[in-house]
């Protein structure tokens, strides 16, 4: 295996709470991404997926503290905090934000905002920059002449396309996309997803897609991580995750997602996720799990490789524990 383009080792994020105390939003996330890979983060709201990818770019507010390493081609970009991460922003890792409606400054022209990072990172200036902006817009399906439009003159879908063009301005290696299609219509969603897949293939981009929508990950990504309560509970090929899940949460999450042609009953998962502002004991999913057994309340399962070639954090995969109960 070649060296991963982006590796995360034991990433933790805490937020100071206004009323005192702190919230352990990301609790030891590790993963490695290969060049050109399309990887997905799935989970419900509050599971820490967005915080995780914001942490990769050091885009956390001042109330956050971070531990762990983020290795970009072997270099720890979080080693010196803001200082060490800022040179890599947009040139190596770029991002498409959730709700592109607000990702653009309403009082500046779209083209200007796409060209801004080019100028900043000394990639192109003046006429060259304008030409490149035009090319990028055409590539995402917007006429180059629209560069002089203001964001409010674009439809939702176009704004999202423009946000993608902006993310590609400095030819990054890794593209993070946070819920890029939420609030868009199905047809526009399909257009955007197709565009992202095409771009990842054409430019050899590593695409990290964050979404709460399992079918999107299933259709777009080859590998994915399922997050719950700030940790990865299962990670591996999307195919295996669907056909042979080794964590009850993954299985139940798929079962809760209606499918167009599958007529099996859709089931909800009872209970709510645990609060992250206090120490968790045992498996965080145990209270909602349909197969929890003796050790789950006390012992926290680690993320270990399973026989299917992926990893899950569940005691059910430990034959010794299972036998003992």
């Amino acid at each position: 295996m070649t060296e991963p383009v982006l590796a995360v080792e034991d990433l933790h994020v805490w937020f100071d709470l206004e009323q005192g105390g702190e919230l352990h939003a990301v609790q030891g996330v590790s993963l490695a991404l290969q060049t050109g890979e399309r990887f997905g983060f799935v989970g419900e709201s509050g599971c820490g997926k967005t915080t995780t990818i914001l942490a990769l770019m050091g885009l956390l507010p001042s109330s956050a503290s971070v531990a762990g390493r983020v290795l970009l081609e072997g270099e720890d970009i979080l080693a010196d905090g803001e200082e060490s991460v800022s040179p890599h922003r947009w040139t190596d890792i770029a991002m498409v934000f959730q709700g592109a409606m607000n990702a653009f400054n309403p009082v500046k022209r779209v083209g200007e905002q796409i060209a801004e990072p080019m100028k900043l990172h000394e990639i192109a200036e003046g006429r060259t920059a304008r030409r490149q902006v035009g090319e990028l817009l055409e590539r995402v399906g917007i006429p180059a002449a629209r560069a002089s439009s203001y964001p409010h003159e674009f439809s939702g879908g176009m704004r999202q396309r423009a946000a993608i063009a902006m993310a590609l301005a400095c030819k990054p290696k890794v593209l993070l996309a946070d819920e890029p299609t939420t609030a868009l219509d199905v047809m526009v969603q399909a257009q955007i997803l197709q565009l992202l897949i095409g771009l990842a293939d054409d430019f050899g981009l590593t695409l990290v897609l964050v979404t709460h929508d399992l079918p999107i990950v299933a259709q777009v990504c080859s590998r994915a991580a399922v997050m719950y309560a700030g940790e990865i509970v299962e990670i591996g090929a999307t195919d295996t995750l669907y056909h042979d899940p080794r964590h009850p949460y993954t299985r139940l999450l798929f079962a809760a997602t209606p499918d167009l042609y599958d007529e099996e009953p859709v089931l909800s998962i009872p209970g709510t996720p645990p609060r992250l502002d206090r120490e968790l004991v045992g498996c965080p999913f145990a209270p909602r799990c349909d197969r929890a057994f003796a050790p789950c309340d006390r012992v926290k399962p680690r993320l270990v490789a399973t026989d299917t070639g992926h990893s899950a954090a569940c005691h059910l995969n430990d034959p010794a524990l299972k036998a003992a109960s």
Binding site: E44, D185, V186, A190, D213, T238, A256, D259, P265, S268
Partner: protein, 341 residues
């Protein structure tokens, strides 16, 4: 959902809500200069001739993209928007033009469930007050004790048991799913006959959606008619008896859920179905992606409104505005508005 419990035919059950040729428009402001220059008055034709029926014990899903007019249709039924033309009948009575007392009476029987459970409850009202409100507004429920009983019953019907656990709580003390259940309980307090649910689960986490949808399904079984507005075809396929697909203010295809999903007849429905992502990574569908976005409902194309984006359009489509009809070889009750279907 299992096959059995669904009424597959539309016979026998009396119609609850009949909508015929409903039209709703909003004027587009043209400004001082525009008026001065004699610029034509424009209107958004949000709903442009929509007809459908919801029967007792039936869940009809109105599916469409934003701007298709599905929400305006729902609001017209509750008369939150004034329809410009067409008739709406509830239990056979024409309710299109009613006002005052009659309208208040109608609002007892037809209840709306909103999309956003984080916003649809007054943050200052305890659960009890929220569910009591409809009773107080309509002067129902008699004395305090009676109201208390009705509130508890509504909570239980909405699956919030035991009621004591929830009665004195504020919305911010509840999870999203619980809030949506409280909203549903409040709509049930007046024992309505028709529920209009506008995207009832799209703001909720996946893990609790099924619970809310199953609750609606139970209510349907108990005899309520439900009109569900949604953009999610998968949800509609699982929980609806019938699906009506809307495009630019018009229903372009309508029929039993299973038929519409498995044997779509209208090219728009086909395209829409083909782009719905599926859970199974191995089942890669060949998405038939339409170019561009839904056009502005101010400029509805002449002829078939779908023709500029239609992959199978023929010259005739540019002139003929097709009506809903049963295509050849289709099952009973399945209609599409396409001359090529």
């Amino acid at each position: 959902m299992s096959e059995e419990g669904r009424p597959r035919s539309d016979d026998g059950r009396p119609p609850l809500l009949e909508v015929e040729n409903l039209v709703a428009r909003f004027a587009v402001p043209r400004g001082v200069v525009g008026a001065f220059r004699g610029r034509p008055k424009l209107a958004v034709r949000a709903v442009d001739g929509v007809s459908f029926i919801v029967r007792e014990g039936e869940l009809l899903a109105l599916v469409g993209e934003s701007g298709s007019g599905k929400t305006t249709t729902a609001q017209s039924i509750l008369r939150l928007v004034k329809p410009e033309a067409g008739t709406i009948r509830f239990r056979g009575d024409d309710i299109t033009g009613i006002s005052g007392r009659e309208l208040r009476a109608l609002r007892r029987h037809v209840q709306l469930i909103f999309q956003d459970p984080y916003e649809s409850l007054d943050p200052r009202f305890r659960v009890r007050a929220t569910i009591e409100e409809p009773l107080l507004v309509h002067g129902e429920g008699g004395g305090k004790a009676d109201r208390d009983r009705l509130v508890r019953e509504a909570l239980e019907r909405a699956g919030l048991t035991p009621p004591e656990l929830f009665l004195e709580r504020y919305p911010h003390e509840l999870s999203g799913g619980q809030r949506q259940r409280v909203a549903i309980a409040a709509s049930l307090a007046l024992s309505p006959e028709l529920l209009v649910a506008d995207e009832p689960v799209s703001m909720l986490d996946v893990s609790v959606r099924a619970g809310i949808l199953s609750l609606l399904d139970e209510l349907r079984r108990s005899g309520l008619g439900i009109l569900m507005i949604t953009h999610d075809l998968s949800t509609a396929a699982h929980f609806a008896d019938r699906i009506a697909v809307m495009y630019l203010g018009r229903i372009v295809e309508e029929g039993p859920a299973r038929e519409v999903v498995h044997n779509p007849r209208h090219p728009y429905t086909k395209a829409l179905l083909s782009v719905v992502p599926q859970r199974d990574p191995r089942r890669q569908t060949q998405p038939e992606i339409l170019r561009g976005e839904t056009p502005n409902p101010v400029n509805i194309p002449p002829g078939c409104r779908f023709n500029p984006r239609c992959p199978i359009a023929i010259p005739e489509c540019r002139t003929t505005d097709p009506d809903l009809r049963v295509p050849a070889g289709a099952k009973r009750g399945h209609q599409a508005a396409c001359i090529r279907a």
